[in-house]
Symmetry: C2
Subunit: 362 residues, 2 copies
């Protein structure tokens, strides 16, 4: 059984990523369609006789959104990709890298490889969003397509690696990748030291693993909860059964959250799930779309469907989350086709206010 | 003639705003529809033999967007409003405050007043966007409507102040308001010390004045350029003539950039324009919409029309800007009606690539 990724590995990644990854802000979001725009932890007038220092402590609402959508490639993936490629021995790196991805990891590998002067080949499933594939191509990466299953992706990568000597950069099951994603957790702990709940999207499990490792070391009292679409809930099943469970791509691919369609979590992420993740909750497709709309209108942030699931859980599944007084939800990516975003904005919330009434931290 | 707002006043505002205003990030944006997603100041491979410290200096593209749209009220206005209200003597503050605004200042005053426990009344023109007025109302502010001219707004505020003893919080022509907005410039100078061009929207001139004062003191080699819609170019005319020129509301209100429809700049802002602002350039309505679209798709940021004019100038009017190697454009607000944003996203760029070819910093 592999050792968990350590806080030292995550701190080393943070040094490599200084100036490469954006230090993304924690953006406040009202937690219910019925809430006022006022900070929900602050009764009007409560600062009237207080000091400005008191205001500093209480002015934020309980839900803060870690906006990884603002990264140069539009998703957190640039952290792990850059960390893994820059950690390769120079000789290996010189031959080039290869990666498989539903889109955001491909774009991140292409970006990091361009920065480091490394040739990149990315393997994308035939159903990957065109906006993500086009971005990887425009960064100079060679694009190879394959069937939309994890097995097909891995086989294609293995073949390219064997034939050309490329170094594979896995999307999640790799400790340098997980260490890079863990810098998201380091930043949350530094910028919001009293956080007691971190809610995080789960696809292959790289992000939630790194974040959970960072939070366990820096905020031991805080809990980390993963979120999946109910149409791709393999990690929830895996955590419940205590071992990895695969959901066939034919089922899992039905969710609109293309970034979270991995058939199953990785082996190393499974160890982090078992040891460091408190729970995994599910959200519906409608809740995802409603969260995308609220993020755009109330936090002025563009989210892709997979990026919005943690916010959706805080808005609509608060009763399934542990009680918390300071919650951070990770918005993991914003690479959405403009037509989909337009369609989401053009319709009123389809999720009733009743469902949303129990917003985060009851 | 009033003294210009000093760097000391801006630094004092920064202390008051710590924990109230978000420290907004500088988000990289590709500068031309034809550009690749790669950092445009970085040739592929240029870091292959370089150090990570070198990467830190060169990994950003030339255009950085200061995302004030992420503030709790969706615009920079919370800085000036909170600074001005918290600077009032306690006795005066206790009677309540009154402000006029096309929307974002109203929302900011309502938000800051709620934090400080002060009753707020906001005067909004009949043509203010409903999303902004609704937000101010939901924060507990009393709403009074008036005709959409600066004269009508001021008269209404004066009457309410005289009748109820409310303290007026002007939207731009007030040194505490300007000092608060100036903290945007302080943050730009701190986070991007080699900036040599700051491009800033101009309505009544409060933001550009504060930013210019901060930049003049902290980055004396950098230039500050204001941007207006060509349908509301009173500040450009004022700078050209050396004194304030008014554009009647009936003309100026035609621009889609509702946040920039002030009939004329303030008296104190006029002094900052003359002394500290290098130039003012204009953008068309189509350029504003194209910039909104590019911000959403490429920087994952929601902009309102008035918030997007500085980015529009960097994208489409680069030849009219001074040469620069490190440019920051201020995205001043993101409170846009969802239907307008959906419409912008649903259509391809209407501004040709030819017009955009001369992107920032030729």
């Amino acid at each position: 059984m592999p050792d968990l990724v350590s806080i030292d590995e995550i701190r080393a990644a943070a040094v490599r990523l200084d100036g490469i990854a954006l230090r993304t802000p924690l953006v406040p979001l009202r937690t219910s369609p019925d809430a006022t725009f006022a900070p929900d932890s602050l009764a009007p007038g409560s600062l009237a006789t207080g000091s400005l220092a008191a205001a500093t402590r209480t002015a934020w609402p309980r839900l803060l959104v870690k906006a990884e959508s603002l990264q140069p490639t539009g998703a957190f993936k640039v952290r792990g990709a850059y960390n893994a490629i820059s950690a390769l021995p120079a000789e290996l790196r010189g031959r080039g890298v290869v990666a498989h991805s539903s889109g955001n990891h491909a774009r991140a590998v292409a970006y990091a490889a361009a920065l480091l002067g490394v040739p990149a080949t990315v393997v994308v499933p035939t159903n990957a969003p065109r906006v993500k594939v086009a971005a990887a191509r425009s960064l100079g990466a060679q694009i190879v397509t394959c069937e939309p299953s994890l097995a097909a992706r891995v086989a294609t990568v293995d073949e390219l690696a064997a034939r050309h000597g490329y170094a594979p950069i896995p999307p999640f099951d790799h400790r340098d990748v997980i260490a890079g994603q863990g810098t998201v957790g380091l930043e949350i702990a530094a910028d919001c030291p009293d956080v007691d709940l971190v809610v995080c999207p789960v696809g292959g499990g790289g992000l939630v693993s790194g974040v959970a490792a960072a939070i366990a070391a820096t905020c031991p009292g805080a809990r980390v909860v993963g979120v999946e679409p109910e149409l791709a809930a393999d990690a929830r099943d895996s955590l419940r059964h205590g071992h990895r469970v695969a959901w066939p791509a034919t089922d899992a691919q039905r969710t609109i959250a293309d970034a979270l369609r991995a058939d199953q979590v990785g082996e190393l992420p499974m160890q982090h799930l078992l040891g460091q993740v408190h729970d995994i909750v599910m959200v519906t497709e409608e809740e995802i779309l409603a969260a995308m709309r609220l993020l755009a209108t109330d936090a002025r942030l563009v989210a892709e469907p997979g990026g919005a699931v943690a916010v959706a859980a805080c808005l609509f599944r608060a009763r399934e989350l542990p009680a918390a007084s300071r919650c951070v939800a990770i918005l993991s990516g914003g690479n959405v086709d403009p037509e989909l975003l337009a369609s989401v904005l053009g319709q009123e919330d389809r999720v009733g206010a009743g469902q949303a009434a129990g917003a985060v931290a009851p």
